[in-house]
Symmetry: C2
Subunit: 205 residues, 2 copies
Amino acid sequence: MALSSALLEQAVDQLATLPGIGRRTAMRLALDLLRRDLPEVVRFSEAVRNLREQVQYCSECCNISDRPVCDICANPSREPSQVCVVEDIRDVIAIENTHQYKGRYHVLGGVISPIDGVGPDNLHTKELFRRIAQGGIKEVILALGATLEGDTTSFFLYRKLNEAGVAVSVIARGISIGGDLDQVDEMTLGRSIADRKPYQQSIKQ
Amino acid sequence: MALSSALLEQAVDQLATLPGIGRRTAMRLALDLLRRDLPEVVRFSEAVRNLREQVQYCSECCNISDRPVCDICANPSREPSQVCVVEDIRDVIAIENTHQYKGRYHVLGGVISPIDGVGPDNLHTKELFRRIAQGGIKEVILALGATLEGDTTSFFLYRKLNEAGVAVSVIARGISIGGDLDQVDEMTLGRSIADRKPYQQSIKQ
């Protein structure tokens, strides 16, 4: 694709670096931006730059935050002895939306993925171990995705946390609520049978 | 979705203004940008802003161009009496890639779409009529998409150009080359029968 404009070429190149955006889509996005008023495009460009330039992370849980300590960590009514380990802010939002969890979080910022060159040191693992070392944390709940990378990360954290003498739990895996059995994949269904629990217990909740 | 960061919220809001990007995808893009090095994000942000701020349009054909007159309009070997009217730069690139066309272009910058509030005056139609009035153009080839909006625009231009005494043609519509008949939609197949031409003519090409 030979373009008559280096400016357009550069914008398309940059937009195409976004995950899931190919050159064709990037061109569509660039032409859409071109049709807008200048102040609108400046607002777009600044919002992206400001995010990266001014972003702060909570000094406790490493979540993205505009303050040195995030709202959840600063909230005294959130149980400080319980820490739920998640991949990123989206997972915090998802869990908060359930209104089921009253403890604190720890945001890793990713999962271990050797293919992408992400090891434990590229994640906020040191900060987690530091929090554990400071004492007061009794339970760590691992709430990472049920993927190869998520499982690898959970196993890594389990071994380290176990050494430190903290109780480690992992969120339940099983069939979705409202789901039909014949729609569930074999792995999940197999796991949900292996992880069955007494009926008496399930109706108590 | 309540976010703990206004900076993130603003970036997600802005990314979600892009066509085809919902808030979920916008969040994924924002988190991806956050993981990059600052100079990389600055380059991204600047490329978008520069495009809108510094873009120029060819004074002849209205295509995006870094020079006052684009490479095609400045090329003396391109037939000046033939002008192909297209929607945007993507169509110029697509037609150039066929190596079948040696005339000039006129880029409308869109098509008439009352729903989106786009009328003839929002497009580079005046510039086209000005080129026609200057004389020297014998044929205008309408190469707009075969959509309701494209057809409306073609009809509008046809009436105006016809008044001006220019020959107006439209690119052929029919079955794709290499296509099976049973894969073709009824409208296209019907059109390709109505627009049939003598076999003798078709083998000459």
